[in-house]
């Protein structure tokens, strides 16, 4: 089982990202997806650094992909997406628009924000050149099992959301800007202050969601530790870890140890608790009644 | 016209007081007979209830001194009229005119709900299923009641026509568009 580091969802400075990708060079992960996933307005702040991050990680032996945006509407976003290919690394499609620019049979990978729910779509993508698909986090284990079988026949590697706040929705509207009484065009980068997103609570004060500009994520950090044997048995080839601002490299190491059998799921969750105290975990999309459910022994660690 | 709180007629309180002494058992029997007729003539209504066809519904006209317990029982329906709120899976409450207007398709359930002329409690999915099934059935209560027989038929017809005259409650299905 491989480990993939997903694209950073939040608005970090170029320095924060440089630090992350430098640290990942020596981390026990196999693959790193970089680039802007959420909001095209963030790109100019660090775009020129991306080639440096890529070359450093490549020299360290990591496989690299560049993500497309999750929602492409504007002309400059279409242009930026078309230009992704020119970087010479594999593109991870997170809005099908990117496919319009990828020549037939050029290999690409598919990110968790593409709706791959069934065999038909998987096969269509495979015939179009998909080599690796990170399935939508919403998928239940039964679907994962079915899709892994089909993927194997088509030479596609299946990846699952392993750890991190779950991307639940993308919008044309920026909620951070709205919260500050601004429009998206005049957002003044309100999301910059929240390196792991902004907590959103229900009227009872229960933590529920996380606001990240145009993206909405779960409050809980997904953690597939307890499902690892099931995912392995299903034929899942990689787990995706989503960057967080604190202790991410330690987290990668812990997941590596879990996969290698050197750490139990409970020990892993204790480690996670040490990294981000009072965080809530979930794994309900895979085996629970609903996404927010957690199958671990402690409900709120 | 779409409803607002102002536009939904209330059943006059003095008439409601008269109904307080009404014997309920015959009313229950008549309504059950009516519901069974509907089950025959509009079998689709009960099919539409799907998994909710064995739920129980309290229909509570807030301007009347009694409530109805509707049990579809998978197409063998039973209606009980009671003075006290029964135990039911779902409760739909509102002025009699709103409830009847819903049945006749004169009002939209969502609009009545948003304006709080209609209150839904309990199993919301069952309540929605009932509302949607009834909306599709295109029932006409006064026409159906006109064909009722039995000991309670005549007084019921009198009550209905009296109530309609006095309140403007929509007891007859509105005519289709003139252009049609």
């Amino acid at each position: 089982m491989d480990l993939t580091v997903g694209p950073n969802a939040f608005f970090w400075t170029a320095e924060q990202q440089t630090e992350l990708y430098a640290a990942l060079e020596t981390a026990p992960v196999d693959r790193v997806v970089l680039g802007e996933w959420v909001c095209s307005k963030r790109l100019p702040f660090y775009q020129d650094q991306i080639p440096h991050w890529i070359s450093g990680l490549m020299e360290a032996g990591k496989q690299i992909s560049l993500t497309s945006l999750a929602l492409i509407t504007l002309k400059r976003e279409r242009k930026a997406t078309a230009e992704l290919l020119e970087m010479g690394v594999e593109v991870e499609v997170n809005d099908l628009t990117a496919l319009a620019y990828i020549p037939a049979e050029t290999p690409f990978s598919v990110g968790p924000l593409i709706n791959v729910y069934n065999e038909g779509t998987l096969i269509w993508l495979a015939e179009r050149g998909a080599k690796r698909i990170c399935l939508p986090p919403e998928l239940p284990l039964d679907s994962v099992r079915t899709l892994c079988k089909v993927a194997k026949d088509h030479g596609v590697i299946i990846e699952m959301w392993g750890h991190g706040r779950i991307p639940l929705a993308i919008s044309g509207r920026c909620y951070h800007a709205r919260l500050h009484g601004r429009t998206k065009d005049n957002c003044q980068f309100a999301c910059e202050a929240d390196p792991d997103g902004l907590d959103v609570q229900t009227l009872e004060g229960t933590p529920f969601l996380t606001m990240n500009g145009v993206q909405t994520l779960s409050d809980t950090y997904a953690c597939a530790a307890h499902q690892l044997p099931l995912l392995r048995e299903a034929g899942v080839g990689a787990l995706r870890l989503s960057p967080q601002s604190v202790g991410f490299v330690d987290l990668c190491q812990s997941y590596r140890q879990l996969i290698d059998g050197k750490l139990t799921p409970d020990a892993l969750t204790r480690t996670l608790q040490g990294i981000v105290p009072a965080q809530r975990l979930s794994d309900g999309f895979l085996t629970g009644q609903r996404g927010v459910d957690w199958s671990g022994s402690t409900s709120h660690i | 016209m779409p409803p607002t709180s102002q536009s939904i007629p209330q059943f006059p309180a003095h008439l409601a007081r008269v109904l307080r002494v009404l014997p309920l058992a015959p009313l229950s029997l008549s309504l059950t007979a009516y519901a069974r007729r509907v089950a025959k003539t509009h079998a689709g209504l009960f099919r539409r209830l799907g998994e909710h066809d064995h739920a129980s519904f309290e229909l509570a006209p807030t301007d009347m001194p009694f409530v109805l317990l509707l049990e579809p029982r998978g197409g063998d329906p039973k209606v009980t009229v009671t003075r006290r709120a029964p135990r039911a899976d779902a409760r739909i409450a509102g002025p009699l005119a709103a409830l009847i207007g819903l049945v006749h398709g004169a009002y939209d359930g969502d609009a009545l709900f948003f304006s709080r002329d209609l209150v839904i409690e309990g199993d919301t999915a069952a309540a929605l299923a009932l509302r949607n099934a009834v909306d599709d059935a295109e029932l006409d209560l006064s026409e159906e009641i006109a064909t009722l027989s039995g000991p309670f038929a005549a007084p019921m017809r009198r009550i209905v026509s009296f109530a309609q005259r006095r309140t403007g409650v929509c007891l007859t299905r509105p005519e289709d568009l003139a252009a049609w």
Partner: protein, 327 residues
């Protein structure tokens, strides 16, 4: 050419009401998880669909069948059957979102016209043209994230017809790309055809204060005189930072009636009304208004004044993303 009014029908009675009220086109779905309004008591069985299509055709209206959820792995046959049955019933087109299902329909039912559902959230000309090329899509229902100038720009770059929502419930998230509902309830638009499902809604009224919960989360609380909201997740009331408010969207519904002339100038072919869960009286009322509006625009007359706010959720309306400041 007069703009096409595309109307919802959750039941055969609503379909007839829409046709009688002047709908050019009606859209509906089968009573199962193949369509995105898989609500209790709604939708059409096979016989009802055949009769509905026959009724519409007899009166000069068209019927589109929405098969716009994402087929479940291992159960694709249910969706394939829906496409075949829509064609047998005489549907004028199917509205699809899933690429796999589009590929299937293009291959096995090439004569059946294919529309791209809003659930595919195709938000720019490149992807729309891609869908046209890959699957022969003739019309796209645009996601509710675009402004009128952006819609005009799309129409300038594509031959595919565009259909836009003008009235009814409003998704603030890109459609088909939202898992909020399954996160909180286990049931989602993409997989089950439901969002914030009634089966997980609880209302509690205490001395006039109405609480609405979804999946156990209280996301609405209104006073005695306020309109009652349905606890749709993206329109809930939440706290973030120091603020407690409708952080994603207010409980408003879309009413773009006044934008019809601009949408026509932007090259839009069809105007879509949301609301397969609404009653036949609502459908008739809304259809009459919009039919009058497009007829007026076509004849160069001023628009009739809006009559529709009272039929709207929370009784407040918005023009949504069509005006750029919404973002």
């Amino acid at each position: 050419m007069v703009m096409e009014i595309v109307c919802p029908a959750g039941t055969p009675a609503a379909l007839r009401a829409a046709v009688k009220a002047g709908a050019h086109t009606v859209y509906c779905g089968f009573a199962d998880e193949t369509n995105a309004r898989n609500f209790p008591g709604l939708n059409f069985d096979r016989a009802e669909m055949r009769e509905g299509v026959a009724f519409a055709h007899a009166h000069g209206s068209k019927v589109l069948v929405a098969i716009n959820t994402y087929p479940r792995a291992g159960s694709e046959a249910l969706w394939h059957r829906a496409v075949a049955d829509a064609e047998t019933a005489g549907a004028d087109a199917v509205i699809l979102a899933d690429p796999g299902l589009l590929a299937y329909a293009a291959r096995h039912h090439p004569g059946l016209r294919r529309h791209l559902s809003v659930q595919a959230a195709a938000a720019n000309a490149d992807i729309i043209n891609f869908y046209a090329q890959a699957f022969g899509v003739k019309r796209v229902v645009l996601p509710r994230v675009l402004s009128v100038p952006e819609i005009a720009a799309i129409n300038a770059e594509t031959e595919v017809e565009t259909e836009v929502f003008v009235f009814g419930g409003l998704c603030v998230m890109a459609e088909g790309r939202c898992s909020l509902s399954s996160y909180a309830t286990g049931r989602s638009p993409n997989m089950n055809g439901v969002c914030s499902p009634a089966s997980h809604v609880e209302y509690h009224e205490d001395q006039g204060v109405l609480d609405a919960k979804l999946g156990g989360y209280t996301i609405h609380r209104v006073g005695r005189d306020d309109p009652a909201p349905y606890p749709t997740l993206c329109k809930g009331c939440f706290t973030a930072g120091e603020k407690t408010n409708h952080l994603f969207e207010d409980p408003v519904s879309l009413n773009a009636e006044q934008l019809i002339p601009q949408l026509q100038k932007a090259g839009v072919t069809a105007l879509k009304i949301e609301g397969r869960q609404r009653s036949r009286s609502y459908v008739a009322e809304v259809v009459k208004n919009f039919r009058a509006a497009v007829d007026a625009v076509d004849a160069g007359r001023p628009l009739p004044t809006g009559m529709l706010a009272r039929l709207s959720e929370g009784q407040a309306t918005t023009t949504g993303a069509y005006k750029k400041t919404w973002r």
